[in-house]
């Protein structure tokens, strides 16, 4: 995207857009490599740890040679799909959160808080309870549809008015949409025992027992969403200076907003269809990444793409280990980790600014 280049050519002397110097760039590349190493470590932990710990050498052997041993079966058929889905879902949620925070210019934006996940959930429940879809497979389209409708609703209700957007309005719009959809879900699941049973387990958000078929159904959508999101980085930087300045720098705010909405819908819809509604990854990770990169989205987006799956996989591994022989689902662990981050953010004085 050339807009970023344009911004630098005008040399905007604003700390929001630091002129990238050689040493800083090297430092950020190094950091990115470090994040990749962290992610690889989390992925290997996810392959090796669990109810039955498997030595790292055995894991590596099993990955490349299928010898029908128990360990190889566990690694290849159970933990590998789970890890890959965790990677994809984590990256998707992190990207979606960053995009939402950038477009709404609201530090509290998150697919869970803003009702997008609830929209996807409600649509999935309607699919299970009314259309009698198979809860194991056919969740992609309802989830995408629901996520899209909810994102559009919340954006319209809480989005920027003539005088910009306030975190509280957006949170209010998200809470409203979530509450109404939650009531819909309750009404449907209370009258349908089988649907209630399916929904109860699906609604916490989990990576357990996902087969590679799930990835095949949802991975494409998440990939397209990411491909739409990544080139927006330069435009998002320009818009961070304000809508008018962004427009003067050649960015079309409406178009960027629409592309971001489509991308968020694809990312969240795909992630919810694959793993159920998982909150707070999209909220906490962009803030952590921003501590390293500053507000430049060209660095922020890749960093969140690596850090979010690291958090998700780590949370998943923790969930597998803390309550043997059972598991705590990853959605619960991420909320337990993410909610305190949210509270800390809310206690900070300058929460209104990204």
């Amino acid at each position: 995207m050339d807009q970023a280049g344009d911004v630098r050519a005008i040399a905007v002397p604003v700390p929001l857009l630091p002129v990238v110097g050689g040493s800083r760039r090297a430092r950020l590349f190094l950091g990115l490599a470090g994040c990749a190493v962290l992610l690889a470590a989390a992925a290997f932990a996810s392959l090796a740890l669990g109810t039955k710990p498997i030595a790292l050498g055995t894991v590596l052997h099993a990955l490349f040679h299928h010898d029908n041993s128990d360990d190889a079966l566990i690694v290849r058929d159970l933990r590998l799909p789970r890890t890959v889905i965790g990677l994809a879902v984590g990256a998707a949620l992190g990207l979606a959160g960053t995009l939402m925070q950038a477009v709404t210019r609201n530090p509290l934006a998150d697919p869970g808080l803003l009702g997008v996940n609830m929209g996807a959930s409600a649509a999935v429940v309607v699919g299970i309870a009314v259309l009698h879809l198979d809860p194991q497979t056919a969740q992609v389209w309802p989830a995408l549809l629901g996520a899209g409708i909810a994102a559009l609703l919340v954006h319209t209700l809480g989005g920027r008015g003539p005088r910009g957007t306030a975190p509280i309005r957006l949170a209010l719009a998200g809470a409203t949409v979530s509450a109404v959809l939650g009531a819909l879900v309750s009404a449907l699941t209370l009258s349908d025992r089988a649907a209630f049973q399916d929904f109860r387990f699906w609604s916490v958000g989990s990576l357990a027992g996902r087969s590679s078929a799930v990835l095949g159904q949802t991975g494409g959508f998440m990939a397209v969403g990411a491909l739409i999101a990544l080139p927006l980085a330069g435009s998002l930087n320009a818009l961070a200076l304000g809508e008018d300045t962004g427009r003067a720098l050649g960015v079309h705010p409406g178009r960027v907003g629409a592309l971001a909405l489509v991308s968020v819908t694809l990312l969240c819809g795909g992630a919810v269809a694959a793993a159920g509604p998982i909150g707070f990854v999209g909220l906490a990770v962009p803030h952590a990444a921003r501590q390293i990169t500053g507000p430049d989205h060209r660095w922020l987006l890749p960093y969140t793409m690596l850090l979010a799956p690291t958090l998700l996989l780590a949370a998943d591994v923790v969930g597998r280990l803390i309550a043997p022989p059972g598991e705590v689902d990853v959605g619960i662990v991420t909320a337990l980790v993410g909610a305190p981050v949210f509270i800390l953010l809310a206690r900070r004085r300058r929460v209104r600014q990204v």
Partner: protein, 367 residues
């Protein structure tokens, strides 16, 4: 003893005859500021209260007389006064009347509690259901239902305890150089999200039957509420509603800002703490009786504020609006073929109302 009525300058009364007036009883000539008793009376508020009472009566009459077994209105009156047939007496005094009274009392408690909360946080979002009280109450109830397998009374007790603990946690987490409304709400949302993860965990660990009954409880329902629910709730209202009314005048001043209120001699932190305490107690009593019914506490004060066009907490009007809203929602819920829990109806009605409110403010361009 003479009564004098003098017109006070009013803020927003559209028609001059609906402006608030100050009624003074026992005023002394030459000293207009000194009188034995004086109070402000807003004709518009009186009209609104009368209209809400009338709406409540209509809803009550409909609730008592219609249903799968129809009782003519004259028989309803006779039965309530104690002279009905055996069947009418069973259906009305054993089934419909306690449920109706519970709905009215719970609605009033939610409305008044919500009014206090919203006044303190100076934000329509500051109702107990948004700032985590309901989620905390749900956690308490879920612990009792799924881990202890307790009775209904124990569930109610667990809910009240959980709600109170959550409210205290939110209050202290939001405290930093005093409690500010905006931070109170955001911290409440965060704590609520944390607890709803805990709730999700408890729900998936529970057996199917426990989970089903817990889910029903979590929505808030008035199904099968008998006289044993009416008494405690009425008692709580009798204590808490006057307290709420008593502090609401000072709260109206507090809405003008902390500095001004201090200048006028109010003990700001004490007042805020008391208001939150009374509000939480009201919400807790309602939750104990009907479960965490959503959105009444959020929307009733907003409705009351728009009807009366008066600033301040509007405690009494909010209580009436809450009672009418909940009784009306329960009437609608009972008419659904499968018998919806009332919480679903209030969430849909309140949610749609709030969406309308947001879109209106969006058009006005308020932040």
């Amino acid at each position: 003893m003479r009564a004098r009525i003098s017109t006070a300058p009013a803020g927003s009364g559209r028609a001059a005859r609906l402006r608030p007036v100050t009624v003074r009883i026992g005023a002394k000539r030459g000293r207009p500021g000194r009188s034995a008793i004086s109070f402000r009376l807003s004709p518009r508020a009186c009209l609104v209260i009368a209209a809400l009472v009338a709406a409540g009566l209509v809803i009550s009459a409909l609730t008592l007389s219609t249903g799968s077994y129809h009782v003519p209105l004259s028989d309803v009156v006779r039965t309530v006064l104690g002279n009905g047939s055996t069947l009418d007496r069973f259906i009305i005094t054993r089934l419909r009347e306690p449920r109706l009274l519970t709905a009215l009392a719970v609605g009033a408690a939610l409305g008044a509690g919500g009014a206090l909360f919203q006044s303190v946080s100076r934000n329509p979002l500051g109702s107990p259901d948004i700032i985590g009280f309901d989620t905390g109450a749900a956690t308490g109830a879920l612990v009792v239902i799924t881990l202890i397998h307790g009775t209904a009374a124990q569930t109610a007790a667990g809910a009240v305890l959980g709600g109170l603990a959550t409210a205290a946690a939110v209050y202290f987490l939001a405290m930093r150089h005093g409690v500010h409304g905006y931070r109170l709400i955001l911290v409440g949302i965060g704590v609520g999200a944390l607890l709803s993860a805990v709730n999700g965990y408890l729900l998936i660990r529970a057996s199917e039957n426990d989970a089903q009954s817990a889910a029903l409880w979590l929505i808030g329902s008035l199904n099968g509420r008998g006289w044993d629910y009416v008494g405690p709730e009425a008692l709580a209202l009798a204590v808490l509603l006057p307290a709420a009314w008593w502090i609401s005048r000072a709260l109206g001043v507090l809405e003008l800002g902390d500095d001004l209120s201090r200048g006028l001699g109010l003990r700001v932190e004490w007042l805020r703490g008391t208001a939150l305490l009374v509000g939480v107690a009201l919400a807790a009593s309602a939750t104990a009786a009907a479960g965490p019914v959503g959105f009444v506490a959020l929307s009733a004060p907003q409705i009351a504020r728009r009807l009366t066009a008066t600033a301040g907490p509007n405690t009494l009007t909010s209580a009436l609006a809450g009672a009418v809203l909940l009784a009306g929602s329960d009437l609608a819920a009972q008419r659904f073929p499968s018998g919806l829990p009332v919480g679903v109806v209030t969430a849909v009605l309140g949610g749609l109302y709030l969406a309308w409110l947001l879109s209106r403010e969006w058009r006005k361009g308020r932040p």
